[in-house]
Symmetry: C2
């Protein structure tokens, strides 16, 4: 496995590569990322992992500066999971000029996290377009934990005719259900003990729908009650949404929806979601 | 030469193509487009001309519906100039879903025409990104007559790391100086006689600067006087701008600037520009 830090070195390294699979990450790799790399390994011949903490997707009061940066361990994880090439550019390499060009994916970006993180998905779509143009993969892998990111990218790829297949990879969870996230590192022991309530709340909503409840308010109340029992948790949103554009659905709930939530525990923001698919 | 109308047919036709040159047009081809195709012919092995009147770059009160559509003559011109492939998709082929994704090139899009055609360059950047992704050319050719479009695309290509070289091709003019444009067809005989004042005004500005005038207001006055002598002409803007982002410059005028103007003659809007380069 090789690590490169510039666009030119990456393009040189990939010159005669075929069937490229790209796994875009912000580093601080965990079992969720490892699953992305392993999935890519099974489906592609050349596996590229990008590691880049993208400043333009963080708001001014967000955690850009404290976001965990663990390049050495990340390189070990990439090698272990079968990556061929790691692309770990500097901010100056990715943004050598003032970035004037931005990709907006309307509607899909506007719900859920989009309401609370203005400009976030614009930053995500823009950097992913850059990475796709730099690496030119046939397949690109994204975790389903970041559901809205996945849907924004799926729609961008369709809308701008990018010749890449976007693959969503199921969320990896701890034994107690907490979704793996680089941000779990921020949690104190006490906060970590409260965190699984997020998954439990989503599960309760799924169970309610599976058992036949079709009233949005009732399903949400059941889930919110579980979160409200935790004094350390503040709910940012919990919504039942359609699976494509992620807009909140209305009563009666249809057969195929997503339950998505964002919570704060202390100064840490966590998101998670579950699928309820048509039987 | 072949003409194809779908993305799939185009990709099939280009499967083993090398050194692709793309000439994106809205059809109604004239000598300016022919020069683009001929330039591509000299520099590339496979020449693709796209012909698509892009609805999302027209404002609600603009000339989308009456824009000239002359596909048969366009195909003849493409064949004559040495194109290998014409891509002439329908609106449904280019926008099979509601288009939710848009590319914004800030700053460069905001001056000149950007002030008077809100959303125009967003529509241009978005469709050009789509065409570049569909055709995947090594080089793409654009006329310098549409200076702001050229600069928007140049910046987009840099900012999103598209692996394509953007080539600007000098404006082709009629004997009396009028820049060739598909919209010249809209002009009545009387309007056509007034139209060369646009080029004359720009030339007067260039002469003034070349002769040492460095005062923006004075250079503009000289040019505007020429336009104001024509009762059929209404000036939308006439600006002296920097060559990259096309922002108006201030006195004293530097050595390398562009003079750009937009005028209305009756219901026809014409644009033109000239370069004043550092000696």
């Amino acid at each position: 496995m090789r690590a490169v830090h510039t666009v030119n070195d990456l393009r040189d390294a990939l010159e005669s590569a075929e069937q490229i699979g790209l796994v875009p990450t912000m580093g601080a790799l965990h079992a969720g990322h490892e699953k992305l790399i392993e999935m890519a390994r099974r489906e592609c011949r050349t596996i590229v992992v990008s590691i880049f903490v993208n400043p333009i997707q963080f708001g001014p009061n967000e955690d850009y500066s404290r976001y965990p940066r663990t390049l050495e361990q990340d390189l070990e994880a990439c090698a272990r999971c079968g990556a061929d090439l790691v692309f770990a550019p500097s901010v100056e390499e990715m943004y050598p000029l003032p970035q004037l060009t931005f990709v907006e994916v309307t509607r899909v970006s506007e719900h859920l996290c989009g309401k609370f993180r203005p400009g976030h998905f614009r930053g995500v779509a823009t950097v992913v377009l850059k990475l796709l143009n730099i690496v030119q993969p046939q397949r690109a892998y994204f975790g389903e934990k970041d559901l809205q990111q996945l849907q924004v990218i799926r729609r961008m790829v369709l809308d701008v005719n990018l010749p890449v297949t976007v693959v969503g990879v199921p969320t990896v969870r701890e034994a107690d259900g907490l979704a793996r996230s680089s941000r779990n590192k921020y949690l104190s022991e006490e906060e970590r003990r409260a965190a699984p309530a997020l998954y439990q709340a989503l599960q309760a909503a799924v169970s309610g729908i599976r058992e036949g409840e079709r009233d949005v308010t009732k399903v949400k109340s059941t889930a919110l009650e579980i979160l409200e029992r935790q004094p350390l948790i503040r709910v940012e949103y919990l919504e039942i949404v359609d699976p494509d554009e992620l807009a909140p659905v209305s009563t009666p709930i249809g057969a195929s929806v997503r339950i998505a939530a964002a919570i704060w525990i202390g100064s840490t923001r966590l998101i998670d979601n579950l699928f309820v698919n048509a039987v």
